[in-house]
Every structure is written in structure tokens, then in C-alpha cells.
């Protein structure tokens, strides 16, 4: 962990202004949603576990669900000085960690998280400019508020910067 690293936990979200860095460790089936306003250098990162809050009774934690997390993250960013028209999204995660029969609902959760995230972002007219989703391995991500770069690290499968 280097300077100003803010850790976003599972079912958690946070916002940082430059030169802050947001990180979330070990995204599996969860999706890391990175929103960034390049003009005002405001970054927001959410680590969502489930696609849809409306299907779950225990939905008090907005950061747990793709639909409510994106709305909350967006409003937190606007409050921190971001402008909506500048915000672009990058995504990572949504893996299928085990090669389990895909007919099992619980095991397809990675795909469903990504689908739901993309749908909600489209509804909000936030463009997804880059994504590294799916596959079968975990990802740790870092979002740099100074330039919006989204660094993805894996165990034994290399890394990339989006």
C-alpha cells in the first residue's frame, strides 16, 4: 500500500480527490465500479456483491447492490465536486471463481453483477470506457484520482492498466 491509499471493502464504496488512490482487494464474483471525472479529478470506487437490491429483503446497505451503489456513488461524487457530464466508468471483476454448473443461480452471480452494472450505467447515461470482467480469477484494483487510471492486478495472470 502506498500513499493515500483508501481501501474500499466488500459491499463498500468511497470517493477521493487527486492525489488520492482508491483500492479494493480480491474482487471475485463482485464487481469493482470505478467512476471518474477527469476534469475535476474526482474518483469513486464501489465494490458491489449483488446485482439488484429490489430482489433482496435485507437491502439497507446501498453499497452492496449494483443498482443502489451506483446511485449513491454518483451522488457522493457530485457532492465532492464532480460534474455529472464528465463522469466515465471502468469496470473490473464479475469472475466465476469456480467452474460450477452455470445453471446454479448462485454461481452465475459474476455475470449477473456485470450485466446489471452495465444496464444501470446505461440508464444513467454514464459511458463504460473500459472493462476487464468475467473469466475465472480474482482481481485487485487501484483507481488513481490524479489521472483516472485503473490498475488491475491478479495472482499469476498478469495485470493491466485501463
Amino acid at each position: 500500500m502506498s500513499r493515500d491509499m483508501i481501501v474500499v471493502g466488500m459491499a463498500d464504496l468511497n470517493v477521493a480527490a487527486s492525489p488520492g488512490i482508491l483500492t479494493t482487494i480480491g474482487l471475485g464474483s463482485c464487481v469493482g465500479i470505478a467512476l471518474y471525472d477527469g476534469a475535476n479529478k474526482i474518483a469513486g470506487l464501489a465494490h458491489v456483491m449483488l446485482p439488484d437490491s429490489s430482489q433482496i429483503k435485507n437491502n439497507a446497505n446501498a453499497a452492496k447492490f449494483a443498482d443502489t451503489a451506483i446511485v449513491k456513488l454518483l451522488s457522493d461524487m457530485l457532492r465532492a465536486g464532480a460534474r455529472r457530464e464528465h463522469i466515465k466508468a471502468k469496470l473490473a471483476g464479475g469472475a466465476q471463481m469456480f467452474a460450477f454448473n452455470s445453471s446454479n443461480e448462485a454461481m452465475r452471480i459474476g455475470d449477473r453483477n456485470v450485466e446489471s452494472t452495465r444496464k444501470i450505467l446505461a440508464e444513467l447515461r454514464i459511458p463504460v470506457v473500459a472493462a476487464d470482467t468475467g473469466a475465472t480469477y480474482g482481481r485487485t484494483v487501484e483507481l488513481y484520482a490524479e489521472d483516472g487510471r485503473f490498475v488491475i492486478k491478479t495472482v499469476g495472470r498478469g495485470g493491466m492498466t485501463l
Partner: protein
């Protein structure tokens, strides 16, 4: 040492109606502890037959933890761990997961196959043969637990074939965490300690029944 964690959901703020799930009291704790005890005991008996050594089990310890803190028990969110997943279907649906640290997995392989396995590698690399062996250990532990649970509650429960993943603790834990996430943010950890002669081996078992199945389990065991 052979700690097991059986995680079941429970609510945090009292804002969930009792019929929704998991109003945990000391009786529930005792029941879950007992399931852990029996399941782990059977698993270890099966394992000790295979490795041909005596394995001792200690009384389980029950811990209630935030799910986000569970990775700490495995050495941190980025710790490389091996997870073996067995699906559960039948009267109870959900997943069962067996977890070990990589170093522990090495030790298990030495116990199982002997220290001088031809072609064996060190550190974080495993051969296909070694991964198969680990998958089988996880399968035995998970299936023993599932069998014990089924017997105790008198329900028909079928385990799937095992699946293995070697990755960061958080990424692997996201699978049962998601199952819990539908109903709760905290997890009940039942820690059972085991000791094979001279060798300390630690493993963790996590049971993630779906919401309905958790209610069935608790009702079958006489909890309100």
C-alpha cells in the same frame, strides 16, 4: 490444529424480522456448534483413515464476525488460498466450502503423499496431481460435513462433485459471501481445532445455505 469455520448468516441491527432469517440466540449457537462438531469429527475420521494417522479434534469455538473480517482468519484478503467448493442440493440448497492456506495445503500433501513426491514443486505452484489430491481432501471434508448435517436434521441432501480454485482469499470468499449477502452482513464462525500427530494442519469449512434452507435447518433442529 485444524480449525473449521462454519458460517451461517445472522442479522446485525435488529432491523430484520425474525421470520426473515436468523435470529441467533445461545440455543442457535449451541446447535451450530454441534453441527460443526459432528461434521468435522466425521470428516477428520475419514481423513485419518486415508492418511493412516490418528487425528485429534478439539471442542469447536463459535465466533460471530462481520463477513468482511473473515479473510483475516485466512491470513488477509490478498492471501493466496485454496478453496474447494461442493454444491448442496435436495431438501437443503447452498454451497459448502473448504479453505486452506497454500502452506497448509503443502503440509497436507506431505502427510498424504509423503515428502518426496517426484515432480513436486515448492511454494505456490502445484502439479495437476497435487491439485487433484487437494480437491479430494476438500471433497471428503465438505461431504462429511454435508452428510452429518443431513443425518442430524433428517433431510435428503446431495453434494455435487468438488471444484477447486487457487486465488486471493477475498475473491474466493466472495462466493459464499454473496450467498450470505442476500440475507445478512455477519457470519457465524464455528472453529474446530484438530491435531494430527506432530503435524499442525488448519482448514476452514464454510456452510452457506440459501435463505430458505437456513430456516429449514434451524427449524429441523428445534430452534424457533
Amino acid at each position: 490444529m485444524y480449525p473449521y469455520y462454519i458460517l451461517t448468516s445472522c442479522h446485525t441491527k435488529g432491523d430484520i424480522p425474525m421470520d426473515d432469517l436468523n435470529h441467533l440466540n445461545s440455543t442457535h449457537f449451541d446447535i451450530l456448534k454441534e453441527i460443526g462438531n459432528i461434521g468435522s469429527g466425521n470428516g477428520v475420521t475419514a481423513l485419518s483413515k486415508i492418511i493412516g494417522r490418528k487425528v485429534r479434534m478439539k471442542t469447536p469455538v463459535v465466533v460471530l464476525a462481520e463477513f468482511k473480517d473473515v479473510a483475516a482468519f485466512l491470513g488477509g484478503p490478498e492471501q493466496l488460498v485454496i478453496g474447494i467448493l461442493v454444491g448442496i442440493s435436495g431438501d437443503i440448497n447452498g454451497i459448502m466450502m473448504f479453505l486452506t492456506k497454500v502452506g497448509t495445503a503443502r503440509k497436507m500433501l506431505e502427510i498424504l503423499m509423503g515428502p518426496a513426491v517426484p515432480g513436486a514443486q515448492d511454494g505456490e505452484e502445484f502439479t495437476g496431481m497435487e491439485l487433484s489430491a487437494l480437491k479430494e481432501i476438500g471433497n471428503i471434508m465438505a461431504s462429511s460435513y454435508i452428510g452429518s448435517l443431513a443425518g442430524l436434521i433428517g433431510k435428503e441432501v446431495r453434494p455435487s462433485v468438488p471444484y477447486l480454485s487457487l486465488d486471493m482469499a477475498n475473491a474466493i470468499l466472495s462466493v459464499p459471501a454473496t450467498e450470505f449477502g442476500k440475507s445478512a452482513d455477519r457470519a457465524l464462525l464455528i472453529e474446530t481445532l484438530f491435531e494430527a500427530e506432530g503435524e499442525n494442519v488448519s482448514g476452514y469449512c464454510i456452510l452457506a445455505p440459501d435463505v430458505t434452507s437456513f430456516q429449514i435447518i434451524m427449524r429441523s433442529l428445534g430452534a424457533e
